[in-house]
Amino acid sequence: MVQHKSITSLKQGETGTIIGYGSDSIPIKVYEMGLLPGVVLTMKRLLPFNGPVCVRIKDNPNAIALRRSEADLILIESLSI
């Protein structure tokens, strides 16, 4: 079953695949950074008090930091359930 959840529903250490976006007005930077449909990513860190999240794309040593407001718009299918 495909669940339309966003990146922020992942817990630390969990992995998911991007399946789409919740809005058309996502900054071009999200695409340029390679956060594209089909990409597998792992949640590295969720800072408390609604702070930014830090994800890592599979096979890429560099991480990407995003505010929750952007992360909420990137929809995923969870792999680790």
């Binding site: 007005s25 996502i26 071009i28 930077k29 695409y31 340029e32 950074m33 390679g34 599979k58 560099n62």
Partner: protein
């Protein structure tokens, strides 16, 4: 000999600046946090009878700009009349983000620019088990591919050879989608060109500043008739390109790296931890300030004594007269006042460049975003704010990486509140004079007070940011999307060069102003008109017949100063500054400080040595012995000292910062508001403090 213009282009954190240093030998900064190469850097080198003019463009993720930095990249590449428009582009790719780099490469190629492709950090990639099929990549990109490791210098010679290689034919990958075909055709007719992609780019940008009004209005018209949403164009292009690259990459890279907890992961578990991350960051800050204070001590004492000796020897060697006075009291004293602060500035820059080089700075951005957002700032404002602790000028410039206009403007307006290194001389002297030498919680009390001054600057910056956020409206959505690179061992050479550049830049830049002001001050302080200046000796003898020898000489000197041009200036602003606890001599220091605040100490040194016949005293002991004639107490007592500290903490006293703010905001209005607000706030804070404490 032929010449060739080349531009270096690439994503941030790919080692572009290090490669640039390798090629040109021209010294500049290479770092790990977004926006180190905010300035346009140029350099040149000669290889096999060709002189290559290099431009190091700011790091960008693609051709479509989302910050001022990236706009600069787009402008240089699209505008054929731009003075830095390259004849060839070197695209520097990151082996771990090869697809992203290839996307950028293809955009550049399809604009009609010849380019070669470099894969940098190849050593790191090989260690991680990444193997790139160079032949396949060359075929895909229709160009020469060079593998380099800029840190060790590997592949640099091959790159130089490749620059002269013949350009291969390139077939565009990106096809204009059918629904936009008409609009693109119209744009091509309008601009009289046959490049589809360039037309597409014009349609997908916010503005095309370099085009003449006729053309740019024409483009707007086409956008309107076809109801083109430039954002959808950019997204469509990026998605299409990635899809094509994904297909083409099949079998191009072999990745045998295992998903194991890397060094970076282990460090980040601690350094970005919601509790320990912050503890580490703030401990590090406290450590830096303690280091500035304690490590610099012995160096400062040495420099101070050295200059006192120099002034004495020069005074003895040179014949008596005005030249002697100008050199000893004016030039040597003035220069001594700036050289003495080199140790602190160097120590501060060592820490800042270590943080940039290692990749820790982007973690600071990540940690601080949540806490800066309520003040109308972004996590990226942390970089200008922290650099502001060194110097507001590069700090204001580094705000260019902030995508949102409002956040960027607020950052620029509040950054000068941060305690820059030019404030350090004043803080250190004043704190040394009014705060006793004792221990508090295991650290020097004076160090705590200095730390407090930094906190105060930060609070002023955040408070005014919050105010500005309430007052300003914005239509732009704010976001933070940032890469956090792996941790790297700092390249010692890069750190040292950076520290050297920054320190010398500060000393020479400030030194020029200080030298000029020192000479002007000495002239104004040594000459005057009126009876009491020209006949000072007789008047003193008449008024104080009991004075003899040294006391008599001192009295004459101080009366001369009081009635010199300089004294008249100081006394004319005395009514304004008396409520703050300052006398007319300190008033002279304040007047001089409006050009640059760091001249305060050297100015006071000149003022006090002019009013004194003893040349052997150090600046510190002169200031300690100075008596404020209005109140009959030491000029630097607790109340006036605190008042001075507050004034210098808040006032906008730096011509160069005013100039750079004007340039970066492109607005006299905001520049003036900033100047008036900071200086007014400083006056009232100092007034309040003195009146409460006196």
């Amino acid at each position: 000999m032929t010449e060739m213009k080349i531009a270096l282009v690439g994503n941030p954190n790919v080692g572009k600046s290090t490669l640039f240093n390798r090629l040109t030998g021209l010294r500049q900064k290479a770092g790990n946090y977004p926006g180190v190469t905010v300035e346009k850097k140029t350099g040149s080198f000669t290889f096999k009878h060709t002189k290559y003019q290099l431009t190091d463009l700011p790091g960008a993720y693609g051709i479509h700009p989302s910050s001022l930095d990236e706009e600069a990249v787009y402008a240089v590449l699209i505008d054929e009349t731009h003075p830095n428009h390259p004849e060839m582009v070197v695209v520097i790719g990151d082996p771990f983000n090869l697809k992203r780099s290839v996307l950028f490469y293809q955009q550049i190629r399809e604009m009609g620019l010849p380019a070669i492709f470099v894969v940098n950090m190849i050593d790191e990639a090989e260690r991680a088990g990444l193997v790139i099929d160079t032949d396949k990549l060359e075929k895909l990109l229709s160009t020469k591919v060079v593998l380099t490791d800029a840190r060790s210098g590997k592949g640099i010679e091959e790159l130089k050879v490749a620059l002269a290689a013949k350009h291969m034919h390139y077939e565009p990958i990106f096809q204009v989608p059918e629904e936009y075909g008409e609009a693109v055709a119209e744009a091509k007719t309008l601009l009289e060109m046959d490049n589809n992609y360039r037309a597409w780019l014009y349609l997908s940008q916010k503005h095309s500043n370099h085009l003449s009004a006729v053309y740019s209005n024409g483009i707007e018209e086409i956008k309107n008739t076809h109801q083109i949403n430039r954002h959808s164009l950019q997204i469509r292009e990026t998605m299409d390109r990635y899809a094509a690259i994904d297909m083409a990459f099949n079998g191009l890279m072999k990745d045998s790296s295992k998903e194991q907890a890397s060094f970076t992961d282990k460090l980040d578990r601690f350094l970005t931890h919601p509790f320990w991350g912050y503890v580490t960051f703030f401990t590090l800050l406290l450590l830096i300030f303690q280091a500035i204070y304690t490590w610099s001590g012995p160096f400062m004492d040495g420099i101070e004594n050295g200059f006192a000796w120099l002034a004495t020897s020069a005074g003895e060697l040179l014949p008596d007269g005005p030249i002697n006075g100008l050199i000893t009291d004016g030039i040597i004293t003035g220069i001594g006042g700036i050289v003495i602060f080199i140790p602190q500035i160097a120590i501060l820059f060592i820490f800042i460049s270590l943080m940039e080089e290692s990749g820790y700075m982007s973690r600071v951005v990540y940690l601080m975003d949540r806490w800066l957002r309520p003040f109308g700032l972004s996590g990226k404002s942390a970089v200008p704010l922290m650099s502001g602790a060194a110097c507001a000028i590069p700090a204001v410039m580094s705000a260019r990486t902030i995508e949102n206009d409002k956040e960027r403007l607020i950052t620029i307006l509040v950054t000068p509140f941060m305690t820059c290194s030019a404030r350090l001389p004043i803080y250190i002297i004043i704190i040394g004079l009014i705060i006793p030498e004792s221990q508090f919680l295991g650290f020097e009390l004076q160090g705590w007070v200095l730390f407090g001054m930094y906190v105060l600057g930060l609070l002023a910056a955040l408070g005014s940011a919050w105010l500005l956020k309430l007052l300003m409206k914005t239509n732009y959505k704010s976001f933070l999307i940032m890469e956090m690179p792996t941790y790297k061992y700092p390249v010692v050479r890069n750190v040292l060069l950076n520290v050297w550049d920054k320190t010398m830049g500060f000393v020479l830049g400030a030194g020029k102003i200080i030298l000029a002001i020192s000479i002007i001050l000495w002239v104004l302080g040594s000459f005057g008109i009126g009876e009491r200046f020209t006949n000072a000796e007789e008047i003193v003898r008449m008024e104080n017949p009991a004075l003899h020898g040294k006391d008599f000489e001192n009295e004459v000197q101080s009366q001369r100063l009081e009635y010199s041009f300089l004294g008249v200036m100081g006394r004319s602003i005395e009514p304004l500054i008396e409520p703050l606890g300052y006398d007319w001599k300190m008033g002279i220091g304040l007047i001089a400080s409006f050009a640059a605040r760091e001249v305060f100490v050297s100015t006071m040194a000149i003022v006090y040595s002019l009013g004194d016949s003893d040349d052997e005293l150090t600046i510190r002991s002169r200031m300690a012995g100075e008596i404020n004639q209005n109140i009959g107490r030491p000029a630097y007592n607790f109340a006036s000292g605190i008042s001075l500290l507050l004034f210098y903490a808040f006032a906008m006293q730096c011509m160069s910062t005013i100039a750079i703010v004007r340039k970066e905001t492109n607005s006299w209005k905001w520049t003036f508001i900033q100047l008036a607000f900071m200086t007014g706030f400083a006056y009232f804070a100092a007034l309040l403090a003195y009146q409460l404490l006196k």
